[in-house]
Amino acid sequence: MFDFRHSIAARLVLAYGLLVSISVAAVSAVFYFGTIGVLQQNIDAKIVEISRREMLAYGDQPIPLLAQEITRQLNDSVDSDTEIFLLLSPSGQRIAGNLDSWPTLVAGRLLTRQVTRNGKVVLARVYARWLNNHSLLIVGRDLDEEMLMGQLVARALAIGALIAFLLIASGAMLLRQQIERRIGEIRHTVMEIEAGDLSQRIPVSGTDEFGRLNTDINRMLDRIEQLMEGVRHVSNAIAHDLRTPLSRIRTRLEAAVRAEMEVEGFCFAANAAIQDIDDLMLVFEKLLQIAEAESGVRSTSFESVDLDRIARDMVELYDAEAEARGIALRVFPVQSHAVPGLGDRNLLANALASLIDNAIKYNQSGGWVEVRALSAGHELRLEVRDNGAGIPQAELPKVTTRFYRVDQSRNLPGNGLGLSIVSAIASLHGGQLVLSNTDNGFMAVIVLPV
């Protein structure tokens, strides 16, 4: 049932069972010696005390006096069913007492021996002592009662231990079943995913360790699915965005060759092809840039940068563009103030330029775009706000996907890579791109760690 090499549940149960068994044994031992042991000590003390008392009272008296005393003790109805007395003459003959036979004894030592008392063989605790009148006085106690009590206690403990063991065993089974069941859920899902169904998730029941583990695994699966989706999307987009211009170039050149055009016509075809190729190279370049930023190998060129300086420079780069489109482009605060950070100046400028470009491009004439760099607590922010229409809330999470374009923007120039690059640059810096619709427009923030 339990395979210890291949089951952590079995190993856990074994270790746990051992631990509980040892605890039970320890408790039993303490209890046993605390009761029976103390009882024994009391008996011993009492035997020695009686023996001493008799010695003091009769040790120097003639032997018959002591014999008389012993006979009296045996018949006084006190402890008469357990007490043992025996007086031996110097030659070893019984003078008085209630033992019919006795073993060889060593004087001065408490011993547990078999004796015959009133015709019954019993186990007894006995103590022998030489008296001054040369008789040997043996005082003792029949241990039958104590043994009975010891047996009683031992049996009680044994029953307790048995119950404990049964509880441990059933607990172990239960634990093992629980673990098997919870792991079974995970394995089942994993197998289905392995078979190709990436939409499977592990059922999350409760918030215990397995519940939390399952939540974590599910989150990881979400991320993987999202990435796979992204890859699929990119492949489709590449197929479309790269193949279309390529076939256009090819057709155009082929047509030019077929038609045996004049030089002018060739030039026109060639120029158009060059333009298409330049556009293609741009897309290619951007994809590379994203891949590079996402792989996170660029941090060698990180240096101290002033985000406020970058914000002001980019505003100065786009001021003419904004002016031409009738949009007020402003940088805040009016006075420059250093916002020091660590990063790649050109990449950050590139990212901010993309955001400003978008804000201007998607705004109406008469609108405004505000740029600011600020340090807020433990983060640095490059903010671009505008009062344009923003992005439909449902589209927000998707706009950083490569080649993704919001429907309304399809007629505007662009390749759907801008925000992907900004996002990749932000993550390269250990930060993120946060997009949100505001009360009066839209806000894009590159949030960087300090």
């Binding site: 660029r298 420079d313 100065e316 780069l317 001021d319 031409a324 790649d344 050109n346 400028a349």
Partner: protein, 229 residues
């Protein structure tokens, strides 16, 4: 005639570059590996070296560059590279390169940069620049044309100063972004064109002679004569 040494292992590319240089009336000498490159560069007198970053054999572009600089050869070097990232660019420039152009590039861009490098010693900073009736005074941050003051924003002033220092020479959009804004990235929109058109409005609008000319597909030319277009 200016002499150009083109160290580039890819035969097609080398041929195109040399032809383009020759059409622009330079003398261009091709060379296909690093060792020959260093030998030729050190033996002859060159006005500029165009150096591919990745070369076969034990000497790559940056080693060639290091060898030249170690031999106290300060000929301007324009590095060509398929490694276009900022890191690579910074490394190229720190190793002693004077300019860095990532592949693929437009031949016009290459020619504009070659010209800029060759002209560089001539553009020593004189405080007052004048082209035709346009005067730019860097000490007082003032621009006048035919005696009339033209109000420019600080960045427009730097843009105009750069154009005037490179008068008669084609400058590309990336060159402007690199020199005037001091950033290196491809804005991939016409943001520089819009800047130029605003500057042009301020500088040329009320005058018959247009000083700022657009060179189609390449960039801009600041010139007092119309012949370059």
């Amino acid at each position: 005639m200016k002499r150009c040494l083109v160290i580039e292992d890819e035969l097609n590319a080398s041929q195109f570059i040399c032809q383009a240089l020759q059409r622009a009336e330079y003398e261009a000498v091709p060379c296909h590996n690093g060792l020959d490159g260093v030998r030729l560069a050190l033996e002859g007198h060159w006005d500029i070296v165009i150096l591919d970053r990745m070369l076969p054999g034990q000497m790559d572009g940056l080693s060639v560059l290091a060898r030249l600089r170690a031999n106290n050869d300060h000929t301007p070097v324009l590095i060509l590279s398929a490694l276009g990232s900022t890191d690579e660019r910074v490394r190229g420039l720190r190793s002693g390169g004077d300019d860095y152009l990532s592949k693929p590039f437009a031949l016009d861009e290459l020619l504009a940069r070659v010209e800029a490098l060759l002209r560089r010693p001539l553009t020593a900073s004189s405080p007052v620049l004048q082209v035709a009736d346009l005067v730019l005074d860097t000490r007082h941050q003032r621009v006048t044309r035919a005696g009339q003051t033209i109000a420019l924003q600080p960045r427009e002033f730097r843009l105009l100063e750069y154009l005037m220092r490179h008068a008669g020479q084609v400058v590309t959009r990336t060159m402007l972004l690199e020199s005037v804004w001091d950033y290196h990235f491809d804005p991939q929109t016409n943001v520089i064109d819009v800047q130029m058109s605003r500057l042009r409005t301020k500088v040329d609008k009320d005058f018959s002679l247009a000083l700022i000319q657009t060179v189609r597909g390449v960039g801009y030319l600041f010139s007092a004569s119309d012949q370059h277009v």
